[in-house]
């Protein structure tokens, strides 16, 4: 996917639909062709492609055409954006204590050994 700016609104709008979340869940096992992806869904291939388009515009899915087969995979940009957004909404102390955990995970300063 190109350097197009992804907007948080688009990401959450795309994730706000059960079918699109199901598509994303199916894709999380690995890349697959669009027709294989569409198999378990009770809808036309065209409808699945439409959902994929929304996911692609939100930076959640990337599609690629190789010969006559269009394959798709999970794109991390949109997921990272959503994850960062949710993480930053956590209370101040939650974040502070995570930083404390990161600090405590470092090897102990030899001077403070008891």
């Amino acid at each position: 996917m190109d350097k197009k700016k992804i907007e948080i609104d688009r990401v959450f709008q795309a994730l706000g639909d059960a079918t699109r979340r199901a598509i994303l869940e199916r894709l999380s096992f690995g890349p697959m062709s669009v027709s294989h992806l569409a198999e378990p869904f009770q809808m036309t291939l065209a409808a699945v492609v439409q959902h994929l388009q929304v996911l692609e515009e939100a930076g959640l899915v990337a599609t690629e055409k190789t010969g006559r087969v269009r394959s798709c995979r999970v794109e991390s940009a949109g997921l990272n954006l959503a994850g960062e957004w949710l993480k930053a909404r956590r209370p101040e102390w939650d974040r502070k204590l995570d930083r404390l955990g990161e600090m405590l995970a470092e090897p102990e300063d030899p001077q403070s050994l008891h």
Binding site: A88, R95, L97, R99, L104
Partner: protein, 160 residues
């Protein structure tokens, strides 16, 4: 209407728990040693540290002043927090009172309790934070500012 007249107080209590794979002595040191405390308490913030000091003893204080970064709607203004330590049981418990203010405008007064419980794998930390928020003080302004900073940060992240 005068803002003092419409100022409401909102009370809130939250509990945060963490399990750290190190003994309580090391977790406690991260609270009592000023250099260690500063690293996780202040340094990782997106704000600029203007001053930080810690006097870790009962009755002792901790002051942290930070400024908002350039381009932030609150740039040039100082966020001040002050903690006063009320009860310290080495390696077990720390209780402190805490105030937060934008310049001289106080918006929260809190009681914080940190409990360190030894476990088989290290330490379970339980933080209980009980606050009175002076809602009219600047709540919406601060919230909006926080949002904007975040979205700017995200945009920068995506541009990499």
């Amino acid at each position: 209407m005068n803002t003092m007249e419409q100022q409401a107080v909102v009370h809130n209590t939250f509990v945060v728990e963490r399990a750290y794979p190190v003994p309580p002595e090391r977790v406690f040191a991260a609270f009592s040693d000023p250099a260690k405390k500063r690293r996780w308490y202040a340094d990782g913030d997106s704000k600029q540290i203007e001053s930080y000091d810690l006097d870790f003893r009962v009755g002792g204080g901790e002051h942290y002043a930070s400024g908002f970064q350039e381009g932030h709607p609150l740039a040039g203004r100082t966020l001040k927090s002050e903690n006063i330590y009320r009860n310290i049981v080495p390696n077990r418990r720390i209780i402190f009172t805490s105030t937060m203010a934008l310049e001289e405008n106080y918006f929260s007064i809190s009681l914080g309790t940190v409990e360190l419980l030894p476990s088989e794998t290290g330490t379970n930390l339980v933080l209980t934070f009980q606050s009175a928020f002076l809602e009219g003080a600047d709540g919406p302004e601060m919230r909006q500012a926080g949002w904007r900073t975040l979205l700017d940060k995200l945009a920068a992240e995506l541009g990499r």
